[in-house]
Symmetry: C2
Subunit: 525 residues, 2 copies
């Protein structure tokens, strides 16, 4: 189901109940770019530590916009032995909800934009009808501001539409506006002598409106309702109405309710994430680290500095995660699944020894057809991610005695895969462990090599040709990590390099020590 | 005429001839945002110096994308006493043209995007069919790279599709790819024994393709044409063909020509700017400083540090500029035109003492209707900017004896308005003088005041109430410039402030001296 600003409020209860009844949820996000840095490969070095990788992604990826969010809920129907699914494809855009709300800036990466439009992505829909959102801090601030305004009004310090700057005395009206203001006063005085109830002023500047509010508030503290109205063309003009006390109260109450509703509208899509979070349900994604980071960053709070704190926040927002890319590259799947990109995985899991899961789209929800790929629409990607998860889960059931055709997402068999997020292109740390410390592989067979920028991979192969198989992880064009196949070769390499002029070798341990020292120096005040 | 990537090449000669025959050109740009900074008003202080303003715009506005460029050419038909006009509305997008080309990142400001979509702007068209471009440096680099590749080929150092990394000896094939490569060699050997001319390999990774190129180049230095082909789904596979010498040469020639054409395509929209520039024609815009800055930044070169250098570059690219916002706020127009926004100006210039100019859309060009506003489409905005210019120019003719109904853009009467770009919201410097030093108004009636952030404009009015009329230019929430109406009040204000605790006053001169010193300190190594 496609959800935009236009039908969001009407869909919200359907979203809530879909989450409530689900056995698990699958999610996916689309972003306006991936990496703000020089190039993606430099940012994802094969020898990153989890801390380094997190810091790089935080620094170089969070200024992009998550503008489409796919949510697919899966509910198991025991009698029919199949899953009932509901897919939502949310368009998201931070339309400023009033003049005081933050004017979000986001980066677009032309390759990402180009890729998405080539897949038929509709940017007009995002920009025109995207659902707005606020993170928790923004929401709190906006609610507080509204509260304050209400209190001021209750104390009679101001009319609802006006907050006094220094509420004593008449407004200071600069010379050049005096004529204008007297004309306004004349018109308002007219209101009290004729039978009209309302007068509408000409559109004017913000400063003039301020003067009008100040003047009228001081001259007619009660008995007038003053309101700024915006035309379709975004011109603002002031409407002044003569009202009795009851009428004024009614109008103010109306205004208050409208304000409350606007506030909820402004929180917008964040309410869906709050619901997912509160449900505590298993959330499945494919290669989902960036999805989790963006979701928290955009709808909860700025990402914490430290990886440890990020894990804590994530576990609050999504208490149980499962990454199908990590699952499919772990045994017993690893040997059966050569390529783990979502599209390939989905194809592979349709054939033996795997089985396509039995699913049925819930009534009233549009049906996705996996034969007709709609890859890179977030709702579709979430959908097939869920299918992949079911196929793999059920496959594990075939090892039981007796074999079981359906394995619940709550089964003990799933536990090894919970809360481990796939780490792309790190050679020896397959995942980020969200509930504890990460793996710390010994990297004592790894060398840090620096060399002239003319060097190619082949030069490195040549340099280490005596040591058999090596693995090169480029850092930039004058340095790389080289993994030797045996640790005892490290000392030999170090010895031979001692007098080399064109290149330099350090052990991984030395290199990391140097980096830590650099950091300490840099972080001193 | 709407111009996208799809019809750009077909339109180019029409664009060139429209420029060639024109008496003057009008331009306008649409951007993905205006200001990257905290807020626009803080960035456009009423007391900025031209240098400061330029530095702020350069720092906070150039990361946005100019994604629509309007060009309207005006040719005067003396016999019919009317202008013949041709309007072009170019959609622009930096689609990466190959894998080596820069992957541009740009910022979007949600308020700007929201505003444009609310005006019906079509972002899908921009992103899907926008015309690419290269600045001069990028163009030079890309052409050099192509040249180099050609030279290498001429020297026989490499087949056209392959540049050797260290061209001696066979490629080093890592253990895990040996099987794969032997299978490729088998297939190619097959080519020489059977009647097939071509074999297509399965899609494989970039690294595997590299190994294939290296291996084949070494094993079969002649007699094979190896080419990487990209499928519609962006998968790359290798095609290997058995060719004789003549055939290989023909293919290489073909490839070269294709490459040249692709290069021109990549330069794309920049060619239009080059043509405008070369024509030396008068270029008219409305409030055009940002348009000029973006155009140079995007299609010529990164903007220079110094304002002086910027003026020089601008005058190379656009030797004659005229800003209708500046013109309309200069006498004799100033007193006749209360609001100088483009839409208001256009309306005002339709009525006496002004006259709507007689124009006719050239055959084959779509007609804009000023009764049906299409404001904020760049082509339309350029069009009405041109109309405004003509009306104002012709009005000047009414002062001649005998009066003249048509004033040429080359008339002496225009000279006072040439090469002066409107400076928004600077109180005492109306324009940037592109051909020399700027006005340096004495600011000896101006005070720099700092105060607690609780202060409002009214507190400043109160503080200076003894001095009559003042003018406040906010800098941030704890400082502002205050212009007194008389210079001799400055000393009195300074004296009274000496013992004040809550606020501090400096003269403008003191303030500027302090800033210069700060700068000198900061710019020391
Ligand atoms: N000097 C040199 N640098 C290289 C070479 N290959 C890669 N690099 C550098 O290492 C970075 C990472 O490259 P790589 O891991 O191959 O990823 P890729 O950019 O996705 O192909 C590149 O951006 C280059 O700066 C090479 O052959 N020679
Ligand atoms: N302390 C204080 N700061 C203000 C006030 N009005 C404006 N400012 C500051 O000055 C900046 C410029 O404001 P202004 O020139 O009024 O432009 P505006 O933001 O377009 O209304 C604002 O962003 C605020 O930081 C005020 O009444 N009190």
């Amino acid at each position: 189901m496609e959800v935009t600003r236009k039908n969001f409020k009407d869909c919200l209860s359907a979203v809530y109940s879909a989450i409530d009844e689900a056995d698990f949820l699958a999610i996916d996000g689309e972003f306006s770019g991936i990496s703000d840095g020089p190039n993606v490969s430099a940012l994802t070095n094969g020898m990153d530590t989890p801390e380094e990788r997190y810091a790089k992604l935080k620094k170089h990826s969070m200024d992009f916009l998550l503008f489409q969010f796919g949510l697919c809920t899966f509910k198991y129907d025991t009698e029919a032995s199949k899953y009932i699914i509901k897919c939502f494809n949310f368009y998201i855009f931070p339309k400023p909800f009033n003049r005081a709300s933050p004017d979000i800036k986001f980066i677009c990466q032309s390759s990402s934009i180009d890729f998405l439009v080539s897949q038929g992505f509709d940017f007009n829909k995002v920009f025109r009808h995207g659902i707005p959102y606020l993170n928790q801090e923004e929401e709190a601030r906006v609610r507080e501001q509204a509260e304050e305004r209400r209190n001021q009004q209750a104390n009679g310090a101001a009319t609802p539409s006006y907050i006094s700057p220094s509420s004593k005395g008449p407004a200071h009206v600069p010379e050049e506006h005096k004529d204008f203001i007297s004309r306004v006063i004349e018109k308002v005085d007219g209101l009290f002598t004729n039978s009209e109830k309302t007068v509408e002023l000409e559109p004017c500047t913000g400063f003039q409106r301020k003067l009008i509010y100040q003047t009228l508030n001081w001259k007619y503290p009660k008995g007038l309702h003053v309101e700024t109205i915006e035309t379709e063309k975004k011109e603002r003009y002031i409407q002044i109405s003569k009202v009795d006390d009851a009428e004024r109260k009614r109008r103010e109450q109306q205004k208050l309710e409208k304000e409350q509703e606007e506030l909820n509208d402004a929180v917008g899509f964040s309410r869906v994430i709050h619901a997912i979070s509160k449900s505590g349900k298993l959330v499945v994604g494919h290669n989902m680290l960036l999805d989790v980071m963006h979701t928290i960053h955009q709808f909860y709070c700025p990402l914490p500095q430290d990886l440890k704190d990020f894990k804590e926040v994530s576990m609050c927002v999504f208490p149980r995660l499962l990454d199908t890319k990590l699952m499919s590259s772990t045994q017993p799947f690893k040997d059966l699944i050569p390529i783990t990109s979502l599209a390939e995985l989905e194809k592979r899991l349709k054939v033996a020894p795997f089985k396509s899961p039995k699913v049925e789209t819930a009534e009233g929800f549009p049906r996705y057809d996996t034969a007709q790929e709609q890859l890179h629409e977030a709702g579709y990607d979430a959908y097939i991610t869920g299918l992949c998860f079911i196929s793999m889960a059920n496959y594990l059931g075939s090892f039981l005695t007796p074999p079981k055709a359906h394995i619940s997402p709550r089964s003990k068999l799933m536990e090894p895969f919970f809360n481990k997020l796939f780490l792309m292109r790190i050679i020896d740390i397959p995942y980020l462990n969200m509930t504890g410390p990460d793996l710390r592989p010994k990297r004592d067979h790894v060398l840090y090599v620096t060399f002239p920028k003319e060097w190619k991979t082949s030069d490195l192969y040549q340099l280490f040709s005596a040591f058999g198989n090596i693995q090169v992880s480029w850092i930039d064009d004058t340095s790389a990590f080289v993994s030797l196949s045996q640790t005892d070769q490290v000392q030999i390499a170090m010895n031979t390099s001692r007098y080399a002029e064109s290149y330099r070798i350090q052990t991984y341990a030395e290199y990391m020590k140097g980096r830590r020292q650099d950091k300490d120096v840099n972080s001193q005040p």
